[in-house]
């Protein structure tokens, strides 16, 4: 196995390893494991050899190396990669010309010394929570190949959990980093809306789209997040803020007030999700409960905005090439394109109201805690599941706990816990269950520091993915 990103960079910097040897090992891991997991839709090994060679040459010249020197990574296939067609999970994009240049974040990773090894599978056009892609196949969960990886950044989460790469990039419109991070047992960061540039990423819902990293350790996640920050006028939503580095070892300030979200966030949390929240609350010393009363409205607003903007974006291609769209989501997209403007406007008003309520909550708490998904990863092909005696459709409901938060743009770190049953007779399934660590806008540092507390307490972290092809991956916890 390759190990954690920061460890790889340290070893390359010290001369203990070369970037070329790390790349060779990564390539072997991908070739051995991806047949079973189906994370990669394209590999970029020629480019990776050039990038790794450049790092090794810089070291041999005695130059100082950037923070992620020689670290292999991959990106969800909605990020532009120069010379590769940006699929965004869709067959209708497969005949588009190759991207002429890298997306802003891919360029930032290159500057940081990271080595790009490929593009990763996703739900078509990022509209889904399971990564069951009809065109490119389902990405399977490395901890149980019969289960979904989660979506839409399923390839990004499974590639880290399957120990093929230590770091990936994904996107999150309604939970698409946090849900797969939860299902696959990795850390994921959805930054504040506007923090990271989305330029040259295939859009889905402009007013809700976020991009961010996934990783196997909090240190890797934080270091990657730091490398990705920067102003970019090409993304109209990208905030004109200075880079605010978190550092690789974020520390939660003494006296940080952590609140446990009840109400909606408990109603939609199954036994394992509640158990994970209890474990995290105990480690963080959180005892006070609170409510985001507008959570249901915020989720509904996200649903309407997603339908309207997503439907409008794809309307022309849906008219001409409907049959080539993903069967699981194409009718929802068409229906979304019919949403009246008055509903969309009302959804934006509700969003403002929910945002104001959340800011009030941050007068009393610094970090809010909630489950990242209602339950463990469902089985591939599952059409429904039952949460607290309610049977609900799988694809539409897996984001029920993440949508209210991304609707109002708050930063969230998803941290993977491993609850052992629910203490009430439910058997342990040895699957991960994520929690969301939520902070006020622009306080990604607090989200990451809270996740680091859970990691240091030994309750959050990646575990060996025994189901991954070839087996034998080892924990980086």
């Amino acid at each position: 196995m390759n190990g954690a990103a920061l460890d790889i960079a340290r070893r390359i910097r010290s001369g203990e390893r070369t970037a070329a040897s790390v790349l060779a090992e990564t390539r072997a891991l991908i070739e051995a494991r991806d047949r079973a997991l189906n994370c990669f839709t394209a590999t970029t090994f020629e480019r990776a050899e050039r990038e790794a060679g450049a790092i090794d040459a810089r070291r041999s010249r005695g130059e100082s190396l950037p923070p992620l020197a020689g670290v292999p990574y991959a990106v969800k296939n909605l990020f532009d990669i120069a010379g590769v067609t940006t699929l965004a999970g869709a067959k209708v994009n497969a005949d588009n010309p190759a991207a002429a240049a890298d997306a802003y974040l891919v360029a930032r990773m290159h500057e940081a010394g990271a080595v790009l090894v490929g593009a990763l599978n996703m739900d078509e056009h990022a509209y889904g929570f399971t990564c069951e892609n009809t065109h490119y196949g389902a990405t399977r969960n490395p901890h149980d190949l019969a289960r979904v990886s989660g979506g839409s950044s399923g390839g990004s989460a499974a590639a880290v959990a399957g120990d093929m790469v230590p770091v990936t990039l994904g996107s999150d419109t309604s939970g698409s980093i946090r849900v797969p991070a939860s299902f696959c047992g990795v850390f994921g960061l959805k930054p504040t809306y506007g923090r990271l540039s989305r330029s040259s990423c295939f859009p889905f819902v402009d007013s809700l789209d976020h991009v961010g990293p996934l990783a196997g350790t909090v240190g890797d996640l934080a270091a990657t997040y730091d490398a990705l920050q920067g102003r970019d006028a090409r993304d109209h939503a990208c905030a004109q803020r200075d880079i605010e580095c978190v550092g690789a070892t974020p520390i939660l300030p003494a006296g940080t007030r952590v609140g446990i979200l009840g109400g909606w966030f408990q109603d939609w949390a199954g036994p394992a999700a509640r158990s994970a929240v209890q474990m995290a609350a105990a480690a963080l010393g959180a005892r006070r409960w609170c409510e985001l009363e507008s959570a249901a409205s915020a989720r509904a607003a996200a649903f309407v905005i997603t339908g309207a903007e997503g439907g409008a974006l794809h309307r022309e291609k849906l008219q001409a090439r409907y049959a080539e769209f993903e069967p699981a989501s194409r009718d929802r997209l068409v229906a979304g394109s019919l949403i009246p403007a008055s509903w969309l406007i009302q959804a934006q008003r509700v969003r403002k109201m929910a945002h104001a309520e959340a800011l009030e909550l941050f007068g009393r708490f610094d970090v809010l805690l909630a489950a990242a998904a209602p339950d463990y990863a469902p089985l591939i092909g599952s059409e429904s599941f039952t949460i607290n005696d309610r049977t609900v459709p799988t694809r539409a409901t897996l984001g029920v706990l993440t949508q209210p938060i991304s609707c109002i743009g708050l930063p969230v770190c998803a941290a993977p816990l491993w609850p052992e049953g629910d203490g009430k007779g439910q058997p342990a399934v040895n699957m991960p269950m994520g929690v969301q660590l939520i902070a006020a806008p622009w306080r990604e540092d607090l989200c990451l520091a809270a996740a680091a507390v859970l990691e240091r307490a030994g309750i959050a972290g990646v575990r060996a993915a025994t189901a991954a092809a070839g087996g034998g991956s080892a924990s980086r916890q």
């Binding site: 504040t192 809306y193 506007g194 007013s207 905030a239 249901a296 409205s297 509904a300 607003a301 649903f303 309407v304 339908g307 309307r315 849906l318 008219q319 409907y322 009718d331 929802r332 068409v334 229906a335 979304g336 394109s337 019919l338 949403i339 509903w343 969309l344 406007i345 009302q346 959804a347 934006q348 008003r349 509700v350 969003r351 403002k352 109201m353 945002h355 539409a396 109002i408 743009g409 708050l410 806008p441 622009w442």
Partner: protein, 66 residues
């Protein structure tokens, strides 16, 4: 008063035509189902028509900024 289900069916059919879509009856029925689901969720955001003072119905729709 018209049946809400009929109103939704009529709306979807007319809106599809206006937007330039051409679908079979089977597909229109499926899209009507999908739209009905969106409507049931959107309805929770809309103040009752009789409630003219509903707070949410006042003011401009903001451009979202965190």
């Amino acid at each position: 008063m018209s049946d809400p289900a009929d109103s939704l069916r009529s709306y979807v059919r007319a809106a599809l035509e206006l937007q330039g879509y051409e679908f079979s009856e089977e597909r229109i029925a499926e899209m009507t189902l999908q739209f009905t689901r969106i409507e049931s969720i959107a309805r929770t955001l809309l103040p009752p028509a009789a409630d003219a003072d509903a707070k949410l119905d006042l003011g401009p729709a903001p451009v979202f900024r965190p």
